[in-house]
Amino acid sequence: MPKLRMTGRGLWITILIVPPLVFVALFIVYPIVSAFAYAFFDWQGLRRGEFVGLDNFWTVLFVEPYRSWTVNAFTHNIVVFFALMVLQNGLGFILAYALWRELPGARFHRVAVFLPVVLSTIIVAYLFKLFLHPLFGVVNISLKGIGLGWLAQPWLGQGSTALWSLIIAQAWHMVGFPTLVFLAGMQRIPGEILDAVRMETESEWVKITKVVWPLVAPSATIVFTLLFVGAFNWFELPYIMAGLDGSPYGSTDVLGLYFYRTAFGNVSSGQQDFGLGSALAVLIFIFIAAVASVITVRLRAREIQL
């Protein structure tokens, strides 16, 4: 058996690596594992009752009213994901292309596009709440000002517009991130390739679809995967703009809010149940981990190494 002796270097490595390992174990691994364990028990308030196996999972998936709440929140997450895929990542790609092509004012716009990303979610959420205020909001007042008063809406108060208002606020907030990642990807494309393309065609469309898009595939993998995880963990912005209930009448409810409400209760209306909350958290985690892995593997496969 080889002797375990601490050389100077080994000691350093140990000292540097142990604190973060302990930190990760204590604050990441332990909570995940305990949430997993909580999900298998019956809870009365904060007191753990008996082991109930998969009952909590069954309840959140198949027993009313939880079943329709779960379906409702999950559906909204899917809508959010696809909407942001277009509004945030799609727009991000177009913006990146425009910046990369050095259209007039590109320098200024490179900063302007990324600026909202730096703002805290709380600021953005309150800002949009003010914009969309039914009486004094700049949106309704502008609409009235240009004679389109009939378009003025209580944006955050009706089921048909509330979720979309949140989505647009989110897209405005984060569009700079995919823009930046795509732009970095485009700047990595070698000049020789671009020169070669220029010999073949003048069409921007061909250039984008046949050259730029395939070559920024690694950037796409990153922003798609992050968007997926972000869309299904979406919490802060709806929490601030719509409240824990997904107001109005659950039309902005998403899994994050629903999980929080179920586990910790809602001061003005609900019970707290750690068991059901943990079961939801575990399901969300498994779903995100599984789908994100598939997305990553599939998208990686189409990346081209230069």
Binding site: P134, G157, D245, N266
Partner: protein
Amino acid sequence: MKFETFEAANYNTILATALAGGTGPDVMMVRAYGGLENVATAGYLEELTTDSVPALADFAPSALDAERVRADGKLYAVPFASQTQLVIYNKAIFDANGLAEPQSWDELVALSQKLKDAGVIPFANGTATAWQNETVTFGLGSSLMGQDFYDALMAGEADFTDPRFTDALGAIAEVAAEYFPDGFIGLDYPSAQQLFASGMAGMFIGGSYEMAAFQGLNPDIELGVFAAPGKTADDAKLVGLYFDGGYAANAAGANKEASIKFLNYLASQEFGQAFANMLSNVSTVPGVTFDNALLAEVNDLNKSSIPYLMLAHFRYGEPSGSVLIQGEMQKLFSGETTPEAIGEALTTGLAAWYEPFQN
């Protein structure tokens, strides 16, 4: 004696964790109704009787019920304050328009119209914040629903499809559509408070706890309160009444005798009077008088009340009556449901755990 306070939003969690870990306080503030049960059913609280705290014998039964566990009917805390859901109005605006407190629903509608014609928003309320829907419903509708409906509901003879309940919802929605601010379904709670406190609106449907908030936002505002009227002037004017919380003793505390002695003080008129004077809240201790004229008026209104329905009786299971009424009223206000459909939705929804609705 050591006194510690915690932030309200995390109080439940902090208290429950301390109690579960055996480091809980000797005497503590607890919530009422369903919130009390979370702590009490776990066996952390000492049962109180009129032997250990004699002053409790004179407390209002409804106040004591708020601190009882339903399953065994045992009492666990000395209730400290009540809150009242009613209509708060701006006296200066009422005087300027020659208005008086309404005696019937028609009078309420007429005075709202008068305010609207005078360019004042009649009601400041908005319903984008979910829990405000419940406040509006019972602050405005308790008299329309009436004592008879409440009694029948409690006796298991009526459910929420009862026309006394659904008609009230219809009347509330009509008033809201006509006399709440433009786009009120998108107006959140803080904005609604601002509208009223700044004098842009004449009335605010809310809890008695709002009065201090309005006076804080605008120290010059002169407030009045009334119970929203019933259909005719002969109908009893009822406010929605509930109890906030109570003081309880730790069943596993080391100084139990001293704790009970202290609870006796907390149930005394001396404490109740100090509580009312210093905290401007309606103390539940019987015989307390109020320096603050508004508080005295609220205390008078409380004599004719029904419990704030969903909190007092329907927050013991999921889905809670509060969650249901809040969402359903938002639908009603945006024209996506009818009062009758709400009656159905509440009754079938609550049947998931409320036994009287299960057959």
